[in-house]
Amino acid sequence: MILEALIGFTFLAALVVLVAPDAWAGRLAAAVSLVPFAGALYAWSQFDGAGNALTGGTIAFESRVEWIEVGGRTVSWFVGLDGISLPLVVLTTFLVPLAILSAWTPIDERQSQFYGLMLFMEANLLGVFTALDFFVWFIFWEAVLVPMYFLIGIWGGPRRKYAAIKFFVYTNAASLVMFIGFTALTFALGDSVRSFGLPEITAAIAAGELSTWFGIAPGTIAMGAFLAMFAGFAVKVPVVPVHTWLPDAHVEAPTPVSVLLAGVLLKMGTYALLRYNFTMLPDQAAALAVPIATIAVISVIYGAMLALAQKDLKRIVAYSSVSSMGYVILGLVVFTEYGVGGATFQMVAHGLISGLMFMAVGVVYNATHTRMVGDMAGMADRMPITVGILVAGAFGYMGLPLMAGFAGEFFIFVGSFGAPSLPYAPVFTALAMFGIVIVAGYLLSAMQKTLFGPFRLETDYEISSAPFHDVAPLAVLLVAIIVLGVAPDLVFEMIRDATMPVVEGVSANV
């Protein structure tokens, strides 16, 4: 029941905040958003799951109620957690209160609607990470788009309408492609599955229950479904070449929305890839390992080079997200203990680090009203604490040891270097590692230009140190990043436990 309580409370909180007066909607939202976080921590303390939820592991907090029947299959309200979803649930509930705090300064109109939509989105995100029935999952998955559309479109920058609609159209079209792919899969399973529960469908596919449908051979359907779902999720991740909505959405979105977009929404894509493509259809994934790894490496390098060419601090961070997500894909496709586990760990680590970076850039922007590299210099003198944390976060991005980013990337490289199922694994790994060098290049150069040297600001604003509620979330995030970097086993233990069945499923066939 705790998951229902978690999601239900967040929905309710969203409704209450939506009708609260603008004057104290922000404070109310921050207060109520701590409740889901506390609930997620409680769930963590009581977590008794083992193995992977889809491959027959013990599902924690499992609850299942029949809902309706569709064409001979039952749709159930089916939620539960395993070692992959719990860290993402905790990450979501952890980032939302911080994002709400960081919204106090920049959001100065229609506050109650803004915070209400943020909480509404949180509720749906929790649904995405906990749902184990395809239909329930898909409804939450789509429902995330609606608040995001409004959050970008109403409170965004000058080109907000374009960015919001581009985001909506891109991700919606992607969802449709994915939906068709998955539906074809269920048709091909025929009567062998009587529900839309993901564990049942995974088991049936593993048992070879796919049959010919409309004259299409089972292997072709599985491959077609894999490609359709991969294409659908790739937009969400995003990987090159379907990443173009991301910089627009990020640049136009207000800071707190960027934090959630980079911190959690991108993880929906990699989470779904792991669940659907790599757990349900591992044979197809292994067969396509080389093209997928190629896409991953291109994302890493090309994303980093794009970041190198940007002048807008937010764009730099946005493109480096594309680069970081490339590592996650690489980790997933190698099917090794540290590859898949490291990729999942990197989802959490990148959620924290990119959240910190967007927030820090946002705090600087609140003071200077510009994000252009050339417009400012020497910010370190005026905003020492903010800049200090920004620099620390950037080093986290570059993979400084003892920070979460290092652990994630290190795991992925360890896992991918000797991957048995991926030909030329060392070559792919070496190329991807080169991305780190570029990251260091552009982050150091951007910081050196904007933060250090004599003070100069093109826009006429008085700079004083940022208010406490702006800096506090930055500090909290930095602490979390360091804690995860020093003790990755806090979450890596359970991630490894949940990802091992996926790895073993493939290595048995190699």
């Binding site: 569709v70 064409g71 789509e142 429902a143 907000r160 309408k161 048709f187």
Partner: protein, 503 residues
């Protein structure tokens, strides 16, 4: 408890609607010069809700269900009460209640609103009679009973040129299609020798040389159905009538009247012209509906995409939705195992549509009441002055487009899935593609309300009142649109069971 009631009591949903209509006339007779229409609205709403309550009770109790003795037939088989008729009566009564409540504010400065309320209730009575009709004669009488009040309702604002013109066009097309429909009935009677559905079905089975006459008759009946459901080729009255009519009337016509057309179509074509016998006689009406469904949804969607006025866009979108619902007839096959599933899905879609489309038109009614304007640009920035109503409108738009997490997603999904399961993958593909395209024009409304700025700086000053009843109706429709997603199970089960009784 209902077992102790006499058999005619199974008609009480229709009787209650009719009585409410008469009571409205009575109220108007007692207080002819009363300017406030509150009393009228209360009587009309109570009548519609009483009918709805009894209908839901009957469905739950299983009146006309196979488990409780099968359909109740009355008046020498002229009417037949079964789950399907109750299901559609529930749609009619819900839409009527919403429209009557909303009209309280829309017509509050009208000098003689009593006519509106009684005409609406009488039209609703005719619709619930259509739902129970078991003979072509009753079908025609009930159809006229719906049509005649509808013509008057469209032209209700008699000093408004648009309203009068729309009424005239509607009347002319309606009179023509009624004539065609009646002629079709007479041809079918000539070929089969019966007007009662079961007799017609027996006659079709042994039609012999008269198959040509029966075929022409059936095509003409399809024409009559197409008029009532606003489908191709008799759809062209709909944009004019819906646009010119007062918005609550548009809501009533595009939701309830359309559903009434579908209940006739579903019943006549499955019971009077069974697929097997019709195909054996070379009268393949399934194919005809397949073509009509494909053309109707495509035409409706493409025409809706190029409109500049919201109400007209909704009118074309309602043509598109008629095309989706036609899949319920077009994706049938003789002895197909999924026949009841696809027709049930079409019925469930009409129920969901009853709420989301009525709500959308009532929102338009509210905007008309404010006098803000009619185009997409005029809707700019509405969310700033009316956030609650705009949110409700966004719910309707997303639900009409078939986006989760709203009920329209499930009803469309079941419909397309039913078509695929029954072997009509091409219809499902056309439907799905249209459904995706429709997101473009539905989202334009949302974009205008939430993201765009007002057309002129002072445009929103016109929003000076908060019409309580209209608000209540719109918000209630939105809540129903959302709650029908988790509550879709009982709806689709009832609908499938109702459809299963026809095959």
């Amino acid at each position: 408890m209902y077992e102790t009631l006499p058999a005619w009591a199974s008609l009480s949903p229709a009787l209650l609607l009719g009585l409410a209509g008469l009571a409205l006339l009575l109220v108007d007779t007692i207080r002819p010069n009363e300017r406030s229409n509150t009393m009228l609205a209360v009587v009309g709403t109570v009548g519609a809700l009483a009918s709805l309550t009894v209908t839901v009770w009957f469905v739950v109790a299983g009146v006309g269900h196979a488990d409780t003795g099968g359909a109740v037939t009355l008046f020498a088989d002229a009417v037949k009460v079964d789950t399907m008729s109750l299901f559609f009566t529930a749609i009619f009564a819900s839409v009527t209640a919403l429209v009557v409540v909303a009209a309280h504010d829309y017509f509050d400065d009208h000098t003689h609103p009593a006519a509106f309320y009684s005409l609406t209730l009488f039209a609703a009575t005719g619709m619930s009679l259509l739902a129970v009709a078991n003979s072509l004669a009753v079908v025609f009488v009930a159809l006229e009973m719906v049509s005649l009040p509808s013509y008057a309702l469209v032209a209700f604002l008699k000093s408004n040129r648009g309203s009068v013109e729309a009424g005239l066009k509607y009347f002319l097309v309606g009179a023509l299609s009624s004539a065609v429909f009646l002629f079709g009935i007479s041809l079918v009677y000539a070929a089969t020798g019966s007007l009662v559905f079961s007799g017609v079905a027996a006659g079709i089975g042994s039609v012999g040389d008269l198959a040509g006459i029966a075929g022409v008759g059936i095509v003409m009946i399809i024409g009559g159905v197409a008029f009532k459901t606003a489908s191709v080729p008799f759809h062209f009255w709909a944009p004019e009538a819906y646009e010119g009519a007062p918005a609550p009337v548009s809501a009533f016509l595009s939701s309830a009247s359309k559903a009434a057309g579908f209940v006739v179509a579903f019943r006549v074509f499955t019971e009077a012209f069974p697929i097997g016998a019709s195909v054996a006689a070379n009268i393949d009406w399934v194919l005809a509906f397949g073509v009509l469904a494909a053309v109707t949804m495509t035409l409706g969607n493409f025409a809706a995409a190029v409109q500049e006025e919201v109400k007209r866009m909704l009118a074309y979108s309602s043509i598109g939705h008629a095309g989706y619902a036609l899949i319920g007839l077009a994706a049938l096959s003789a002895g197909g195992s999924g026949n009841h599933a696809v027709m049930g899905a079409a019925m469930a879609h009409l129920l969901v549509y009853g709420f989301m489309n009525t709500g959308a038109f009532l929102f338009v009614a509210m905007v008309e009441r404010w006098g803000v304007g009619r185009t997409f640009a005029d809707y700019g920035g509405l969310a700033r002055r009316a956030p609650l109503a705009s949110t409700a409108m966004a719910v309707f738009m997303f639900s009409l487009a078939g986006l989760p997490p709203f009920a329209g997603f499930f009803s469309k999904y079941f419909l397309f899935l039913g078509a695929i399961d029954n072997g009509f993958i091409w219809l499902a593909v056309i439907g799905a593609v249209n459904s995706v395209l429709s997101l473009y024009y539905y989202s334009r409304v949302v974009r205008a309300m939430f993201l765009d700025d007002p057309a002129t700086p002072g445009a929103l000053e016109a929003i000076d009142t908060r019409p309580t009843a209209l608000y209540a109706a719109v918000v209630f429709a939105a809540v129903a649109t959302v709650l029908l997603l988790p509550g879709f199970g009982p709806v689709i089960e009832t609908a499938e069971a109702a459809a299963a009784a026809l095959f």
